[in-house]
Symmetry: C4
Subunit: 205 residues, 4 copies
Amino acid sequence: MSDAKEGDAHLHRLVLFSDAVFAIAITLLAIEIHPPEHWTSVGELFFLMGPKLAAYAISFAVIGIYWVSHRRLFERIARANGMLDALNFITLGLVALLPLGTELLWEQEAGRAFPVYVTLVALIGVSLGLLWGYAAFIGKLVKPIRPLLATYVLVRVALLPGLMCGLSFFSLVHPWGWGLMAAIVGSLALAGRRIERRAAPQDAA
Amino acid sequence: MSDAKEGDAHLHRLVLFSDAVFAIAITLLAIEIHPPEHWTSVGELFFLMGPKLAAYAISFAVIGIYWVSHRRLFERIARANGMLDALNFITLGLVALLPLGTELLWEQEAGRAFPVYVTLVALIGVSLGLLWGYAAFIGKLVKPIRPLLATYVLVRVALLPGLMCGLSFFSLVHPWGWGLMAAIVGSLALAGRRIERRAAPQDAA
Amino acid sequence: MSDAKEGDAHLHRLVLFSDAVFAIAITLLAIEIHPPEHWTSVGELFFLMGPKLAAYAISFAVIGIYWVSHRRLFERIARANGMLDALNFITLGLVALLPLGTELLWEQEAGRAFPVYVTLVALIGVSLGLLWGYAAFIGKLVKPIRPLLATYVLVRVALLPGLMCGLSFFSLVHPWGWGLMAAIVGSLALAGRRIERRAAPQDAA
Amino acid sequence: MSDAKEGDAHLHRLVLFSDAVFAIAITLLAIEIHPPEHWTSVGELFFLMGPKLAAYAISFAVIGIYWVSHRRLFERIARANGMLDALNFITLGLVALLPLGTELLWEQEAGRAFPVYVTLVALIGVSLGLLWGYAAFIGKLVKPIRPLLATYVLVRVALLPGLMCGLSFFSLVHPWGWGLMAAIVGSLALAGRRIERRAAPQDAA
């Protein structure tokens, strides 16, 4: 009982700490954006700041999506240990690099920065996937869950955001990418719903 | 029961996360203010820093007012879902732009920055209004409330702060604007009190 | 009952929000300190960075002391209202200016920055005093407390930190100031202990 | 009873405040890293940013390790007092200097910055050791614990991270340092396990 409560306190502090890092990283995204030195009309202002605001919006969405993923994963986790701390720190360390990645995105006119940015976004997903894989299959830190559902969560968390981010940039050039993205998201959602429905009786028990 | 508790945990993390973003944005308002390189008297110091400190005070009040609005809205909300997350992120994404908006305010001597700033402030209100409108009328996420009161809250949250901010700047040039503002705030408060009094019996039940 | 719980939630969010602002302000104190461009020995490094590190240590202590004051005041407060929100925002708005005040302190060689900095520190105390005075005597937001003790708390919170900060700088030039400071702190502590002892029976009841 | 609850509230706010400072410091580590102005390939980008990213990773690990130490210490602490506040502020004040220390690390090509950085890291450990020593042996603020275990915790917290950090840099030049480090960590872990096993019956009682 005392152990369970201590584990709860550990998990609680870990979640609060992660929330704080997510919140700080998301708010710092705008800190390096400064107004242009000269502008004569609102139109010109937005023209000059457009790339920065677009990069800001993209990274805000990325951190938002990963915060939601992180919240959902940790709803399924029952307790923490030192290894979970360490894996969570890797995720946070990559999230805290997103303000830098955002700057990279708007400073380069050429498309060279895109793959670097997409790689960073994908790595956050992979690190979250590692965290979940460890918690579900090795550390046994999660609430009761069917292996198939746990595997589905792993795949979705680890791959989906990076894939979506990469495909978004790809689709700016090749519009048929949007169709591919819709197909992937749709079939993953369908698969997920089927797996969760089958899993429900046992998980609820 | 378990669902209710999970919904509570979700709402709880959402509120804490929002508070953190508000707190960081409000504290970052001053981060780009630096002392002038040369000053010989306290009077000169304040003369040189006056516009920046004024812009800081205005934005501090704006974030403060929206934090209070956010807190009041979420006191009426009983649970969260993914859509509420997304709408809340839009609000936070606009709040996190206020340090940039503040910089815009003090770097431009001309009044060109005012409408941009007021638009940003008004957009935060609109996004909060959308969030509340969704929570109250579509997502059914709120504690029992009469539709009339919910509508009043929507109007007040969505329009009042932007209107007040715009009228404040307007009144610096046209002093009769202050009277208009007092009339709007006063009649809204009166209407609100009447609606809340009528609503009280049912809501308390 | 429901009102009391809502008041608790309000107070709870207010305290968490304030803690976040204090934490951010205290951590941002160091953000504008950068290493010198050239240094050849550790001694030279510390000689070059000395004034900045000293200013950092002073402001860290100031925020720390005010955080402790804030925590103690709010231990005596039972519920929050809109006015308390507003007064608390004034305190936070001044605290968030301390990174700027710290920069002022190290950029000026002459003593001209000292009075500005001390004024800022003293204003935080005054604003906390206003908050407490309102909560204890006007808004009746505090747990049961004897008026004499409430007045003592008001005086100590509003005046002591500013006085100590001012006297510290004064004493760097006039060493007998340290004696004066010790006398003030000592007699205030003595008075406080006597008042609290007399107040104890009633407050405990 | 009321005292115990107030002490809990104090400890709770202290822990939350510390978590916030740790989270802000760890997220600010990357804030001074900016992309290079010119780069033609991803390889060149990483070559140019390598030292900064390496310094970022090291400091992220250092803050992470100290956050875990802090969390573990405070799991053993039962209540707070003013002295614990003060000692904790010293720890936080040193942690908040790590972004500056990290900058020092990457701006100096020569090894002169290493000892300064290691000293800062070691000082954080010493300050945490002081905090624990005070809480366990003087202030009697901890949950029941055997003196031998308390002493072991003191030694581990105060010395291990600084030693490991110093040895890591040392081992980059003298590879046999890694062996020394493994030996120290291993024997400390062994000693710790033996002490905790012996201590368990009494502590559990």
